[in-house]
Symmetry: C2
Subunit: 287 residues, 2 copies
């Protein structure tokens, strides 16, 4: 068996779907869940996503070959502290956090050098706006990209092992540096979430609030879908990847000021060129 | 027959779909198309969306009971001038423009008082990011809202007639004032398009441009879908509904500055509250 015992700390959409995918491939023996919400954990057992659970991280990781940390980014330091003396010396640690710099810093600070070298930071580019184990499904990662961001001390064998683990889910595994990952994801994922949350709040404070949403069309529904994402998770991402997010947000605001000025002063060519460039760029990637 | 002869000026997604829907219901005789792009018009004939076409608006509207103007907003003044002396005295004029203030102004300026009173401004809240007659389909308006914005001189019978026309397509017809419509649509449709175009352009100018789009996930794809919309149409909307768009854009920018400041200074509660409010608002409307 590729994994005899897998412990998932944070049994939500991502952690739960990973467990489902590995079990479906028959490469995983026992799956132990860990979390704070007993109702969610029990639902995980009822749905067959996990075999059993323990709310204590130290007990949950005992005897595990692989531990996947799938909690919001603000919870990593506490998890590392709670498990570092309870894991097997041969354990491989990995995670699914949406920002990697903060996770690697937490790991470096709270794990022993030996354990730190067996920590393989990873980020599956997959998900929906839904959360909780009830939303988990085995096919979530099929043909999706998984970004591994090994740090300077990551053991090569541990990295290969986690790469193989993700390939079992049907995903495509790629490797980026921590800093590169955080800049790219700030742009394509973190910034859009901030913009979508901000749009919904701006509209909610209009006098015409009720009408505003009543007359919203499909475009608005799609545009704001990510504003239904888990607030705690995205709060944590905003703080964990603060610098990269603020950098791209500042550029976005500068561009928006320029576009706003062009609309105000009726600069037809500027507006039309901007919209054409955007359409061409997007069509080229998502045609 | 409810309509003996219908002329559609601008045979694209909206105009074409309206013709399809009315023909499918068997309430429309001949459909005459008018536009500048002969290839598109011929495709409309080949697809059975229109029966024939004429690139000259005055000839195209001759003998029509109903004329639907479905061109970009910048084209309305020219269309009104071209058709005003060629239409039947009993004709009913309507349109499908995304902003109503500019359209009503153009109509008032360029039509005779008698014809102006037979102009019923309308806006179907439907569409996709696709354009052109090939994208047209009869079911586009089913269960969608059609907003009529009669002006101070609109004839009540003409308004009832256009309301009935849209009900044949399966749509729900509602009435708003011109100003109210333009404020609401600026918020739910025009602003999101500006933001989506702006996001794609901001990312396209990053050093990591290629990677940025390569690692974009489903959320980004949905968020930017509207950036694939027709640039000329949206350029025209930005200028036609300039004041309402700039007003809501300014509020959006102010909110974004506050949120950016909260992220910069690590105001956890402010960020979390903002995201929770946005999620609750959106879930309440689209849950």
């Amino acid at each position: 068996m590729f994994i005899e015992r897998l412990t998932i700390i944070g049994v939500g959409l991502i952690g739960g779907s990973l467990a489902c995918a590995l079990r479906k491939q028959g490469v995983c023996g026992e799956v132990v869940g860990c979390g704070r919400n007993i109702e969610n954990l029990q639902r995980g057992v009822d749905l067959g996503v996990i075999d059993r659970y323990d709310t204590d991280p130290a007990r949950a990781v005992t005897g595990a070959d692989v531990v996947v940390i799938a909690v919001p980014l603000g919870g990593f330091a506490g998890v590392f502290q709670a498990i570092r003396d309870a894991v097997n010396p041969s354990v491989i640690l990995t995670d699914v956090g949406s920002a990697k710099g903060s996770v690697v810093n937490d790991a470096k600070q709270h794990l022993s050098p030996a354990l730190y070298s067996r920590f393989v930071p990873a980020h599956p580019i997959a998900g929906t706006e839904k959360s909780g184990v009830a939303a988990a499904f085995a096919e979530l990662f099929v043909k999706r990209k998984i970004i591994l961001t090994p740090h300077e001390q990551t053991d090569a064998d541990a990295c290969d092992y986690i790469s193989t683990l993700w390939q079992y889910t049907g995903a495509e595994v790629v490797t980026l540096s921590v800093e590169h990952h955080d800049r790219v994801l700030a742009a394509t994922s973190h910034l859009p979430h901030v913009l979508a949350y901000n749009l919904v709040n701006t509209l909610a404070q209009m006098d015409e609030q009720a009408d505003v949403f009543q007359f919203a069309a499909g475009g608005f529904r799609d545009f704001t879908r990510i504003a239904s994402s888990d607030p705690t998770m995205w709060h944590d991402i905003c703080l964990a990847n603060r610098e990269a997010i603020l950098a791209i947000l500042a550029r976005y605001q500068q561009h928006l000021n320029e576009l706003s000025h062009a609309i105000k002063t009726g600069q037809s060519e500027t507006i039309l060129t901007a919209f054409k460039q955007a359409k061409n760029t997007r069509d080229a990637f998502f045609g």
